[in-house]
Assembly symmetry: C4
């Protein structure tokens, strides 16, 4: 259908329209976010700021890729340290370190894999934008993406700062002079244990640890943000399509018109599938990690909190992880919601216009599931949110149970962790 | 289809038929209920007793709207007081206050929002009634609405009275002279704590508190009643349609007849969607609040009851909240049940009459979900009731668990709450 | 279609064929079971042994109906006694009495209601048998029904006998002379408590109690048996249809043939719906009661068993209630399984024969749910069994939890119940 | 369709093509695995190494069948011994023996039953391979089967060896001289308890026990492997079909082409159903047994581990049972995934080619569930894995609960099992 366009014209058309409106084209709207991600070694593709999607490409031997692999190795090392720490006896509370660095390490691998598929994805997206040029580009897509990015990253920064503050407060309460505070903070408060369980404490290692932690926290938050943005951009394409379709509701139309509309819908459904095949692993990791950390935070909420900074940190941290998880689910499920909307218009087609192509279009909408998925284990729809809430409660029961059992078993060691380490 | 009718004729037709049968039209049947609600500041629309739906309108600067916002602020204030009370240390039992006033405050907001959509909804409903005039109006709709209103509101009144009686009995048991009884009742028995935690006790504040509490209780009960009544009225429209369809079961009919029937069904399905978009947030709040209060009551049932009045109050309160939740679910799920019934008639269409429009009608029934929903997170169907029962049991486990943990942690303070406050 | 037959011919045809094969017609096959049930006051219809379904009728002022209402009142009285007993303080263990007699009382009401619908049901069934006479009658239906009846009722009798034996063993262990054994057995072992909590012990009341208990036990077991037999008979009709359909697999057939087949399927689906509307309440009560008693037995299995007779009784009782519940689910779900089978044949229809009626038939099979249901809350399918197993486990958690809590609270009273009452 | 081929030609064609490529035909690819299984008495069919499927047959009075029944009786005896042991008082931990030998005994019965259906299954498979000869045979099917077999059986062997090592370590720690070690190992370490609870210890019985245990362990592992291999082979056939279909995506094609494609898909779906009817009982046993052993291992993980060998054994054992269960689910669910893929191609059919047969094909894909099942209680799809994970967690709660209760009840006996038996 769009075979001719694909080969020769798009490049020219694209450069022509660059000055006009395609600031809202997906390639341009997402570029600043991708650049930010690349500062932390994620999604190492070249030509991200180029005029159009054809300039985007992946190379193993580029600086960005090497940088990405370097950080991947760093987080992997942290994960190994965490495992070592777990083996040496301390239970449960330290499994957070492994879960955190494990998630981050896997995320780096998946983004590296995504970087290889990115050129294909972005050029399929651009081709769709060109072939559906009569709908124009989504209004203010670029702005929406920027606002969402700022909200999520600011929230993450606040959480990170509070985490540091909370740790230092604990250190201050347990030490006498100022130099000991930092030593105590780095080696005893739990956040960087995995490093100093293996390495000696020094200024250099302390700084290194801080940086590693900052990068890992960014990545952990960026994963959710990335899925939200991809969902947002795709939903906007579906909305353009649906608004256009809504304007012909109830009108008498030829079969060839419906055939064209159906093919456009088919392209959108193709794009969703391509996107899903690219990011479905990231989605699975993101949901699993959110599930783990929400359960963990809920469990922490059962034990009493000490001090104001600690309380504020806990509330913000829990609120923010909930906000991220719910926002992610709601945005991703909108793709599914929008993909079903054309159904309503098709029910209103007058009997005279109801031909094979309309019936076929309806059939496709009803029988195909157009949505993001977690490796096809689940589709992100509105009902998933309810199911997740139920699952969290069920898992919570287990964790409360396990926790009370391990508390009874290791009663003395718990008392020690509550106090300062001497 | 009904474009011409919409513009000019309906007003005239309506005034003509007013004296005959449209006491059972939705606009007239629901008016007395809406008037009752407006006494408590809910649904502040004008022209509710007018001859037809076109007289209904919403104005921000009307007395009713201002009254509504005034009460909204009052309940909001109560909610804030409850939160303040929670912060000051007392756990769990006082979260009821926040849940109760939180629900009521949100309900006021949602009814204010609904008031703005009400004119559109009621005029779509009236247009459907006029375009399907050959079916007549639902028999005794007005009577059914009144009976249901009386049952639910009487039940709520009895519960409210028992709640007061139970509180006063506790106060009497703990005080010596009669003036202290009321002071004790208002400041110590838990129902109005949030007020007197902030304000001084005086006759004026006591009366104000009583009124606020009465209004909040009404609203809490009215939410469920309102959804029941809307479901009832819509179900009756579907029943009229289905009765008519049932009378042509197995007959030979033209395609244009089926086309018309399908369009009528489509209008009903449109109306359901409009209604759902108006009240789905209220439905979600209502289900969440019922879920919370049923779990809470079940949890209370584990601790022993003191005195006859207390026992009767608890039984009635628990029975009534269960009755309301089940009635709500059953009535709302009937819309879905009725929307599926035409399927049966279509299976019986003789082969000679089975044309495109019949097949299309069947397809629409099967592929579309015509039901009320809780913000699209769930559809209210019969199976939802079972799922809810299962969820209540699962949540109960968590609450029992949490309760037994917090009991162990705050053993002494619990003993105090059991006795009188001196 | 079969309008002419319905009015005049069926009676004559039926009497003609009586001597040949219609011992396997539903009316004749089920008659002996219904007669057995009537000895215990269930399903009080007249003319059950008549030559055909037209002789069956229900009368309020017949001896059978009066007898049925008499027993209904008796079991109702027992239920009231059980509630009285519960109120007087003893917890949980005695709720079994209320659950048991409550189930039986409701069952009597539902069977009385069913008796009124029975003539309609049985004549619709007979009409279907006559209109699908070319398929013949199900082979050995009568024999299968008799075997199933004997198995279930024998199992129930053994359980009842073991229950008596277990009770008498306990009584013997706690008393000295023979006359006291019976007095002790009736007044203290828990089975007949609800009677003697209200009445004085005497020989007459003891005998009365025995009979009441026997009848109630029969009814409790008969409910499940009845649903199994109805499912069995209906499944056999579907099988006849499917066998016939299977014999034309892959053949070239006219559209009018498919139209006739589809109408026959439609009649079967109609019959299923009629049957469901008659017995779906009984199904719901049966599933709820089975769920309760399985959970109760599982909970009992956590406390240690005393003595051989007690152990055998417990094992048999638990095994039998499981056997009944599983058999019921499997038999009832077969209706659904069989109703889907024609789908397979329709996929094999050669392209030349694939016309509108075939497509319509396939569509009907796929979009309609032909199965027994529990008041439409759930359909009995194979997956239901798995869901039930999961639900039982979940409920079990709650019960274990509640039980351990109530054990801690009433530690002394538990010790008393373990020993003999003096 | 392929009626003529079935009767006469296949045998000749098969022998002709033997030298060329049908090393990857199902009959040849699976033969070495079946031969391995027959060494342990599973699947006793004759002619498994013959040139084609027609040489495969089952005889009751062959050596292989007798051998199979002999082992079946042996494992049955072990199961009986385990039950005897359970009765004699020791609780829970010994139920493993019964679960293990019960599973193995039922597996032998089911494989005997499968052996009778094997000739029909394998000849239907070969007929499909011949009728779809234009697709060729799956590439490297034979190799893939061999690799999977080696991986699973090696893993099982390592687990078996670790189990022995772990037992002997315990025995060494509890005895003084070398001869006592073996006696202690066989009679006290729990693995062979059921034998020596009935028989006297001697060199002969010890060897016999070792062999029985080895065979049982092989069978337990082979069940999962077998389902994996069958799924793998069937998935490859679907893949061939899908690859071929993918190559005509978007092309203009005649209706007769689509009719042929649909019939080929129908044959594949027929084969899946035949395979499912043969192995669905084995699937159910396999899933139930995996569920049991995963829960059991998780429960064990709550109690502390003693010694390195024990720790390594536990980790490997748990990891391996998880690996097997996940691999099984993933491979089996691929059949379902592949069976849905043609849908995508059908959406891309150009309007000119979209005729009745295409619509019918799409309809069949959407309405039919082509997947392996556990006796129709559940279909193995991707979502099942998630459900299973949830179920394991839920069951875990119950087991933790039960365990903590039984620990409290039998506190002294637990201490004894932890130490050596004297």
């Amino acid at each position: 259908m769009t075979g001719f366009f694909k080969e020769s014209e798009p490049v020219m058309m694209n450069t022509v329209t660059l000055n006009e409106e395609n600031v809202n084209s997906f390639h341009h709207a997402i570029s600043s976010v991708v650049v930010t991600a690349q500062c932390f070694g994620l999604l190492p593709v070249l030509g991200i700021t180029g005029p159009n999607a054809t300039s985007v490409r992946f190379r193993w031997c580029s600086f960005r890729t090497v940088f990405s692999i370097f950080i991947l190795l760093g987080t992997g090392l942290n994960m190994c340290f965490s495992i070592v720490l777990m083996r040496s006896g301390v239970s449960f509370k330290e499994s957070d370190g492994m879960a955190f660095f494990g998630t981050v390490t896997i995320t780096y691998m998946l983004f590296l894999q995504l970087a290889r598929q990115w050129p294909t994805l972005i050029s399929e997206w651009e081709n769709l934008e060109i072939s559906q040029k009569h709908y124009g580009y989504p209004r203010r897509l670029c702005l929406k993406i920027k606002i969402m990015t700022v909200i999520v990253l600011t929230g993450a920064l606040v959480e990170h700062a509070l985490s540091k503050a909370s740790g230092i407060m604990t250190a201050v309460a347990c030490t006498d002079n100022i130099t000991d505070v930092f030593r105590y903070y780095f080696t005893r408060t739990g956040t960087y244990d995995q490093m100093f369980a293996v390495m000696e404490y020094s200024f250099t290692t302390a700084i290194l640890t801080l940086i590693t932690n900052f990068i890992a926290t960014f990545t952990w938050n960026f994963t959710d943000l990335f899925i939200i943005l991809m969902s947002l951009a795709l939903t906007e394409r579906f909305r353009l399509f649906n608004q256009n379709l809504d304007s012909v509701r109830g009108k008498l139309l030829t079969e060839s018109f419906w055939s064209q509309i159906r093919e456009e819908y088919n392209s959108l459904s193709h794009l969703t599938r391509t996107l899903d095949s690219c990011i479905s692993k990231i989605v699975l990791v993101s949901f699993a990690s959110n599930l783990y950390f929400i359960c963990r935070q809920l469990l922490s909420s059962l034990s009493p909190l000490h001090g104001l900074v600690n309380t504020v940190y806990f509330c913000w941290s829990f609120g923010f992880v909930l906000f991220r998880a719910v926002t992610l689910s709601v945005y991703a499920s909108r793709i599914y919601d929008e993909s079903l909307l054309p159904k309503r218009v098709l029910y209103d087609v007058p009997p005279e216009s109801y031909k094979v192509e309309v019936s076929r279009f309806l059939n496709q909408i009803v029988t195909d599931t157009v949505a993001l998925s977690g490796m096809n284990f689940f589709y992100i729809t509105r009902t998933l949110l309810l199911t997740l809430a139920g699952t969290i409660v069920t898992y919570e029961i287990v964790l409360v149970q396990l926790n009370s059992i391990s508390l009874v078993g290791s009663n003395t060691s718990t008392n020690v962790t509550e106090k300062c380490y001497d």
